[in-house]
Amino acid sequence: MDEKVILQHLKGGSREALSLLWQAHSANVLNLAFRMLKDRDEAEDVLMDIFVQIPKKIQGFQGQSALATWLYRLTVNECLMKLRAQKRHRELEEEHLDTIVEEALGKNEDFDTSGFDPEVLEKALNTLNAETRSMLWLKDAEDLDVKDLAEIYRMPEGTIKARLSRARKLLKKELNHV
């Protein structure tokens, strides 16, 4: 079914449209939440919370972005709220990233992560803060582009690129230690 039609039905309170949305995006939402929270049960809770909220929140959705992008934004916000509530979000905020010149990014960043054990990669990923981790996941695992990420995180594209670059550098450093 066309996304606009689904959106229309969702706004009308259709359970069937919500079911279609669940089939199409629930796994993506769950994996994003899991990457941020590092806990399967909590990720499931977030997934369910989000789908329970959709009938109300969809009324304010104008359809300017894709439904998936909107769902990812809800997921990121929900996870950040959960992390703040649990006072587990103690990772340091990255500073002065906005000032990083875009041209400086991408240089000497080439490294191959395909040879690493998933567990090692998981551990290295967990050294990043939840938001950056989720950003990297959406970019590299879910293949979202920087424009979508800027929409999800409500940040300028340059900031997103800077954070991704920094995250990759940190990840490389961690993996080299192994």
Binding site: A27, L30, E44, M48, T113, P118, L121, L136, L171
Partner: protein
């Protein structure tokens, strides 16, 4: 892109089998709850409206009662018997209490009866 992180080997989760059912159950519960809340708010509106009506009545009622009193005073206006009763009734009325008999029998029955009906 060469600097892309390869997440392909990492575990990809799928939602638990009962998660969708739980979502549906929670949505149903929320719908039921919102109905109860609307009924509750309706029921709380009733006493509010009733008290408003009561206060309004308390404010308006005195003006109504004064109107009624005015009407009553008009309806109980004194009418002299001299203007409405025949001479025979008047003489009987005036002689009342002057003797041991009330002399009611001296009054022609139909005249007295008509007077009473008129009254």
């Amino acid at each position: 892109m060469s600097n892309k992180i390869d997440f392909s080997k990492m575990e990809r989760l799928t939602p638990r089998a009962d998660s969708w059912d739980k979502v549906c159950a929670r949505l149903d519960a929320e719908n039921a709850k919102s109905k109860i809340i609307s009924i509750k708010s309706w029921y709380s509106a009733i006493p509010l409206a009733a008290s408003f009506v009561l206060v309004s009545l308390t404010a308006i009622l005195p003006s109504f009662t004064s109107d009624i009193e005015q009407e009553n005073s008009v309806s109980t206006e004194y009418v002299s018997i001299n203007n409405s009763a025949p001479a025979e009734v008047l003489s009987w009325y005036e002689s009342l209490g002057n003797s041991a008999s009330d002399e009611f029998e001296t009054l022609e029955e139909t005249v007295g009866f008509n007077y009473l009906i008129k009254e």
